[in-house]
């Protein structure tokens, strides 16, 4: 498989240098890579760094982000903007706060549509309703008139996913997309990702601290700890022969849970 993304990244914050140090990631076309780490390990920073959205927080990126042969780290802001949303899309972890509270759903989708289709700005409605049925949302025009606070968390997450895939991106970065959801919705969303991955041949970087959902979705897993990738490999391999102490500890945390399903069962799903 052809490599879609390959990076070697270091990120500094003014008050926190080396929040990420020499992070190497590779994602093949159509592949789902899981990125696992504890809170504060720098997972979200990776998501934002790949889209070069750290400027605002004062973050500085060194290294390279090779995407489809281009180094995103060297692109000018204007060119980078064209890639955001159209080639690489992002879904953030808390669905309700990721939607603008004062704008209607329709307006927000229209805005996202307009960003890359300034020419035929009116077509967004059709596209949106089409995607709504794809993400199992009511494909009714009246739904577009709702405000975020009139949605359930699950609906909001589906709206965000619909927005993210509006331009059929080649890479979807999902930063803890399920952590705010209840168990049932969580599995529905995971199923949705799986389907989208298959139907659209869309590569994904699935970031989570939840090893189990990662294992159920991803073929490969990278483990991030204190800003560094400590291990990276096929899911099955990692569960069988964890190479580092940290991974082992992580796995054991899952295995000791009496209510957790057996990892082996889950792997067979993947």
């Amino acid at each position: 498989m052809k490599n879609l993304l390959s990076t070697r990244l270091t990120v500094d914050y003014p008050n926190k240098p080396r929040i990420l140090g020499d992070v190497e990631l590779e994602i093949a076309e159509g592949e789902i890579l899981g990125l696992v780490g504890e809170s504060g390990s720098g997972k979200s920073t990776i998501a934002l760094a790949l889209l070069r959205l750290l400027d605002h927080k004062g973050g500085k990126i060194h290294g390279e982000i090779l995407f489809d042969g281009r180094d995103l780290a060297k692109l000018r802001e204007k060119e980078m903007r064209k890639i955001r949303g159209s080639e690489i899309a992002l879904v953030l972890q808390s669905p309700l706060s990721s939607l603008n509270p004062v704008l209607k759903i329709g307006t927000q989708i229209a805005e996202a549509w307009r960003a890359h289709n300034p020419g035929n700005a009116k077509q967004w409605k059709e596209e949106a309703l089409g995607l709504f049925s794809l993400v199992s949302l009511p494909a009714e025009p009246s739904f577009l008139d709702r405000y975020p606070r009139q949605l359930s968390v699950g609906q909001a997450q589906r709206v965000l996913i619909a927005m993210a895939i509006l331009h059929k991106p080649r890479l979807l970065i999902a930063d803890e997309p399920t952590s705010a959801l209840d168990a049932i919705t969580q599995s529905e969303i995971l199923e949705l990702f799986r389907r989208l991955n298959r139907q659209l041949n869309m590569a994904m970087l699935f970031i989570s601290h939840d090893l189990l959902s990662v294992a159920s979705l991803c073929s490969r897993i990278a483990i991030l700890q204190r800003g560094q990738i400590v291990e990276c490999g096929a899911t099955e391999q990692m569960f069988r022969e964890p190479r580092t102490e940290d991974t082992r500890a992580l796995l054991q945390a899952v295995l000791r849970n009496p209510f957790a399903a057996q990892p082996t069962e889950l792997i067979s799903h993947g």
């Binding site: 934002l48 606070r149 009139q150």
Partner: protein, 283 residues
């Protein structure tokens, strides 16, 4: 039939009802001032020198001022001037404040530092003298209406600094909001992000700044009269009429002189109700 009933019920919700009443009051005030010529029997400038400081009567509904001019006519024409120009100036200053303060908070970093010190500098300038200089630049033969329009324009252009400070702080807390990161990640460009995604979230602050400015500008216009700016004789304005209230013993004896204050309170109150209710997102 059912549809109509629902609309009726909708309108009778407390918020809606208050909004409707406020709108009607505002419309009545606006109409009265627009058709002042038909409503008021006398012109606003004609001096009835045989009836100075007269109490209310059938001829002069609110009595006459100390030059024998019909207070009622002056109130209506003054409303036309102030009610049109003060909100316009408030709108201008709020927009400027939103743009400057909002951008500063939105861009952050050194821009924010520049703008913050810019605002401090602006607020510390000796405005009195700058306004005097502004008056010196105006030709002496400006018509009263031009003069008052220029004054409100100046007020609008100068009034942005304090609200900009508040708006900058408000923006600062919003810029890290998830929905802005999300919008940015959708490839939405900088200015559009600011105007379409950030500004609407500042609406409560902007509206508050807007309607606070209106009475402030009305009173500032009156005070600028002392510098030779503002409305000039014989044109009336609320500010000029409010200046008459300095003489409080006369006000106690002639309570009808308070009419402009009452009207000011009613109008600003109504504006507030209308704007606030509109701000509520229907559920």
């Amino acid at each position: 039939m059912k549809v109509r009933l629902r609309i009726m019920r909708d309108r009778l919700k407390p918020g809606r009802a208050a909004q409707m009443i406020a709108l009607v009051v505002l419309a009545l005030v606006a109409l009265a001032s627009l058709f002042a010529g038909f409503i008021a029997p006398s012109s606003y400038s004609e001096q009835f020198r045989d009836a100075i400081s007269a109490p209310p009567s059938a001829r002069f509904l609110l009595g006459t001022d100390d030059l024998g001019r019909d207070r009622f006519a002056r109130l209506l024409y003054g409303t036309r001037v102030s009610l049109l120009l003060a909100p316009a100036a408030a709108l201008l200053s709020t927009l400027l404040a939103a743009l400057i303060g909002g951008l500063a908070g939105y861009l952050g970093g050194r821009w924010e530092r520049y703008v913050t010190s810019g605002i401090d500098l602006f607020l510390s300038l000796p405005w009195l003298f700058l306004l005097l200089a502004a008056r010196a630049l105006l030709p002496l033969n400006t018509s009263p209406i031009t003069s008052v329009a220029i004054t409100f324009l100046l007020l609008g252009c100068l009034g942005w600094a304090s609200p900009a400070r508040i708006i900058r702080a408000g923006t600062r807390t919003l810029t890290n909001a998830d929905y802005l990161v999300q919008a940015r990640a959708s490839g939405i460009s900088g200015f559009r992000l600011f105007s379409r995604h950030l500004l609407p979230n500042l609406r409560p602050i902007l509206l508050a700044q807007f309607w606070i400015s209106i009475p402030v500008f009305i009173l500032s216009e009156a005070n600028l009269g002392l510098l030779g700016l503002g409305v000039s004789e014989p044109l009336p304005s609320w500010g000029a009429m409010l200046r008459e209230l300095e003489n409080y013993t006369a006000v106690l004896q002639n309570p009808w002189m308070l009419a402009p204050v009452v009207l000011l309170v009613i109008v600003v109150g109504c504006l507030q109700v209308v704007l606030r209710t509109e701000d509520q997102i229907p559920c």
